[in-house]
Amino acid sequence: MTRLRAWFLAPSALLLAALFLIPLGIICAYSLMTRGPYGGVSGPWTWDNYARLPDPLYLLILWRSLLYAAISTALCVLMGFPLALFLARSGHRRNLYLALVIVPFWTSFLVRTYAWMFLLRETGLINSVLVWLGILEQPFEMLYTPFAVILGLVYGYLPFMVLPIYATLERLDRSLIEAAADLGARPLESLFRIVIPLSRPGILAGSVLVFISCLGAYLTPDLLGGGKTIMIGNLVQNQFTSARDWPFGSALSLLLMLVVMLLLMPVLRRRQEGLL
């Protein structure tokens, strides 16, 4: 068997080595080099790119990325848990309701972000309706604000929260809830003292998935945000395009990867539970 297995693994192993591991290695090397006179990279080897990271401007962008990711994750837990609970208790139409969560999630991320541009812009639908109803005197710009970015992130990644929580709720031993009811617990009481504590693995897995996706977000802050909502993904992209400072961009992207890896540690240990 071993020979056939080697042939079977070879194409993927080669592709991953050439197009993933080697490129990451190049980024590691570039992060230790100097920006060339025309935007390329050149010697000498240096730690300077990492030394530049603690600059207040970059720290602000990093802090903002962490903050937006944290707020979006919290909102996703609050909005996603009840939806997962609904799914777990939805009976015979469960597959339909599940599909209704999954389908928009897999349809074009770009189009879903664009839909919010269409709704939020100054001449967009929400402003038009609010003015027409007389709630607003005149339209105001909701697009290009932190509000729009966080809304876009929550909208984009909510299913990442719902699905793992649903997976834990579905496997929850129902007799525990019945036992609690027999012993006199009211529904809300058993929700807070039994269901929520027991669905912690799902909430944790969902939170990590949403948090790392938000942290690495590029398209959402790019389209829904403005100059004051730049996140670390936009900063990385900017270093590789207009700023043409590849060594610093490489250092930034390695920092982003490091944060993502650290966050994933607790979930990786739970991978055998089948949540990812």
């Binding site: 693994l9 993927s12 770009l110 189009v111």
Partner: protein, 252 residues
């Protein structure tokens, strides 16, 4: 409590679906402004007559088909090999490729391509986009096909080999037919992801290989254009059908 939960579900589903529904409704608006002035297909005609959109749609389709074919073959073989015996190296690398932020994958590939181009006289183009898509899709295929393999009875292969089949024949005639629904659903997943990708594609595409998401992005950036609503509605509808087909396959 269940009544509150149902009410909440209505609100949550509205939040998930209404933006796309509104987008679709206004793609049929005869006015260019967000005021309903009557049903019209004028923006669909505008989208279809746009040469740039047409060219980009062809590119996206070609890239999607090529990436799907390559990633599905490589990923299915890989899933089978890993099912025979685990490989910590490959599993870890696959997992890493799945969780690395798209923007990091994009710039790393860009840096890699530029480095390779020092030695070879080729340029960014459709081929670099296809390779990028194949790379980030392998992990999806291995995940989906691997899940299918875990429900497969290894005894069937052993029985085939006891009856004189070679390893290859056992795989080809016994295991692979059982895996086909999983393989097909993985292929659909790859096509959808490839067709939709913007972040990585925009970094590794050349001047002659603009994809549909890249053109839509540029149009959305430039200002409001209802033709974008029309093309977006078509994409959502088309991908939606593919996703539902994929879900069916995975359940079967």
């Amino acid at each position: 409590m269940s009544r509150w939960l149902s009410l909440y579900a209505v609100a949550a589903y509205s939040f998930l679906h209404l933006p796309l529904v509104v987008l679709a409704v206004f793609s049929f608006n005869s006015s260019r402004y967000t005021r309903w002035e009557g049903f019209s297909l004028v923006w669909y005609r505008a989208a279809f007559e746009d040469a740039q959109l047409g060219e980009a749609a062809v590119n996206s389709f070609l890239i999607g088909v090529a990436a799907t074919a390559l990633a599905t073959i490589a990923g299915t073989l890989c899933a089978y090999g890993l099912w025979k015996r685990q490989s910590a190296w490959i599993t870890t690398t696959l997992y890493l490729s799945l969780v690395t932020p798209e923007i990091v994958i994009g710039i790393a590939l860009l840096a890699f391509y530029q480095w390779v181009f020092r030695f070879l006289s080729i340029q960014l183009g459709i081929h670099t986009v296809i390779l990028a898509h194949v790379m980030f899709s392998i992990a999806y295929v291995v995940t989906v096909v691997g899940a299918r393999l875990r429900t497969f009875d290894a005894g069937l292969e052993e029985a085939a080999m006891d009856l004189g089949a070679t390893e290859w024949q056992a795989f080809r005639r016994v295991t692979l037919p059982q895996l086909l629904p999983g393989v097909a659903s993985a292929a659909l997943l790859v096509f959808i992801t490839s067709f939709d990708d913007y972040v990585i594609t925009s970094l590794v595409a050349g001047v002659d290989s603009e994809t549909l998401p890249m053109v839509i992005y540029a149009m959305a950036r430039r200002g409001f254009n209802p033709a974008v609503n029309a093309i977006s509605t078509l994409i959502v509808f088309g991908l939606g059908v593919l996703i539902l087909a994929g879900e069916r396959l995975r359940e079967s």
